[in-house]
Amino acid sequence: MSAQHTLSGLSWDRLRIPVVVAVLAVLPVFFFNPSYTYISRLFILALVFATLALALNIVFGHTDQLFLFVGALTGLGAYGTALTADALGVSPWLTMLIGATLAGVLGGLVCYVAARRRFTVILIAILTLALQLAIIETFVGARDITAGSTGFRFSGLGLEPLQNALGVYDHVVLYYVVLALLTGVMVLYHYIQHSKYGMAFDAIRQDEIAAEAIGVNVVRYKTLAGFTSAFIIGLVGPLYAQLDSLVLPAMFEFSVIDVLVLIILIVGGIRTMLGPIVGAAVIVYINEELQAFGQWRTVVFGFLLIVLFLYFRSGIVPFLDDVLNERLGLKSTIKSIVTD
């Protein structure tokens, strides 16, 4: 199988998720401080973007369908959740599923149409980019419903009773909520990779016609990939909004979400489970370090996007994997342990 399993042996493959989640779970103990919410905000943001990148990894990484409307899907999740909660008078915890379904159905529909009409990757890219802009434009324009470009306050996803019972502040709770979601997505990702879905995705990505010839239902699997990714992205939406207690169109713009998510996915390593998490940590950190330089941040990100795609498309995780395997001879060691 592909690169991420080379280090494997069975042990690491199974331990990966618990180890990573455990590490992420203890971080607040060291870094969170109620009087210094700035830092905790960054940690939550990194988890949010890691989840978005991992979701994009399924549809883009594994089925080659380039979604350039991650921002709009995030927005659909957030607006869908907040507006329906408001209209129905129920907790946003319940309507989160409505927001996510909205995003998921759109994602699935795009992939269904694209697969049926045999879209190439560029067509999907253009189609989703047009949707991204149309959706943001709708958020801005449909003022009566969305309150236009100034947006509205949103803070229904706190868990006050729990927060008070534990004596922690809101960011701690939100961090663990997002971590729970990320964990769920990691488990799902792991499941997909080791199931018939993963095999079907690989087959489709490598040669669509051959996959179809051996009986893989290409349209169904592509649609499923699109729905899954978009649904997860839709779930992240309201949590992302909860972080700043706001929902406004500018938060979901292409340049704010999509550019960052793409860089994260490539920096970390496409088609790997840990890549998005490593990438998110690195990029949120760089973003922070560059904060002082103002607009130079954009310059640096543009430069990164170019250089990464031209010279470092494999990403950090596969790179480290290779280094560990080849240079340190871990591969043979593990292999001998496994075979013994």
Binding site: D64, V121, L123, I126, A130, L131, G141, T298
Partner: protein, 286 residues
């Protein structure tokens, strides 16, 4: 106000906007058709031309010097980008090249946007210097006259170039049959360089024309790129004539919807048309 007159005035506005769209669409079309690169940085070249135009106008005092120098400078920037970034992109083939093209030009757009914003954070526009005209009670804005005049001239030159000159013919050959072109001794890579120069020059001209009517900020660059892509899709992506007609039609449609229904609806109509064309006729786009 007489509605008939108002309609004609809107139509003129629509044609003027449509011709700018058409130029932008051609800018995307030629590079995508010939090189398989969707240039997401196209609008940035337009913005650079506008800012250079404003600066040069301050230096030289006349648009007749400022505009040609600005367009030439943008073309040279295009040459630099072609020789450096695009050379790396053209090394790969097929889907891989398309993806690389999207990401490197997106990176370039972000990079240049950031650089521009540091020095030029406000809005810019140029005045065509032509006064409004009144024909039989119909007010025609000076900017519309300038835009229509220049755009029609550019299209005439483009038509002549593609149909009558050796270089234009060579470019079309590469578009139709790359192997055949190589056998005829035409270097596709060289043609791609020329076509990128052509594309960035057209984008520069389109940008300057756009700034006769609208205020432009650095953020407008991406907007212009999007208009260009939509026009190019609706026009069939590889057809220069198609892009020209699509641009003209979309410009008129957008002007009328934004006058009668609202600006944001008109934008959504634009995206809607593009999405519809993509879904109904994807096979026309390679």
């Amino acid at each position: 106000m007489d509605t008939g007159i108002q309609m004609i005035e809107l139509l003129v506005d629509g044609i003027s906007r449509g011709l700018v769209f058409a130029l932008l669409g051609v800018g995307i079309t030629v590079v995508f058709g010939l090189g398989g690169v969707l240039n997401l940085a196209l609008g940035v070249f337009s913005v650079i031309a506008i800012i250079l135009g404003v600066e040069l106008l301050g230096l030289t005092g006349t648009l007749f010097a400022a505009i040609p120098i600005a367009v030439l400078a943008v073309a040279l920037l295009g040459l630099a980008v072609d020789r450096s970034l695009l050379s790396l992109v053209y090394r790969s083939e097929g889907d891989e090249r398309i993806l690389l093209g999207i990401f490197t030009t997106l990176g370039l757009a972000t990079f240049l946007d950031g650089l521009l914003f540091i020095t030029y954070p406000s809005s810019y526009s140029l005045s065509s210097g032509i006064s409004s005209l009144s024909v039989a009670g119909i007010q025609i804005r000076g900017s519309s006259i300038a835009v229509i005049g220049v755009a029609v001239a550019v299209f005439a030159v483009l038509y002549y170039f593609f149909s009558r000159t050796y270089l234009g013919g060579a470019m079309r050959t590469v578009l139709q049959d790359e192997t055949g072109a190589i056998l005829c001794g035409i270097s596709p890579r060289r043609m791609r360089t020329y076509v990128f120069l052509l594309s960035t020059s057209i984008a520069g001209i389109a940008g300057i024309l756009y700034s006769f009517t609208f205020e432009v900020s650095v953020a407008t660059g991406f907007e212009l790129t999007i208009y260009a892509i939509i026009v190019s899709i609706v026009g069939g992506v590889t057809s220069v004539l198609g892009a020209a007609i699509a641009g003209l039609l979309l410009g008129i449609v957008v002007t009328f919807t934004s006058a009668f229904v609202g600006a944001y609806i008109s934008e959504i109509v634009l995206f809607g048309v593009a999405i519809a064309v993509l879904i109904v006729r994807p096979e026309q786009i390679k």
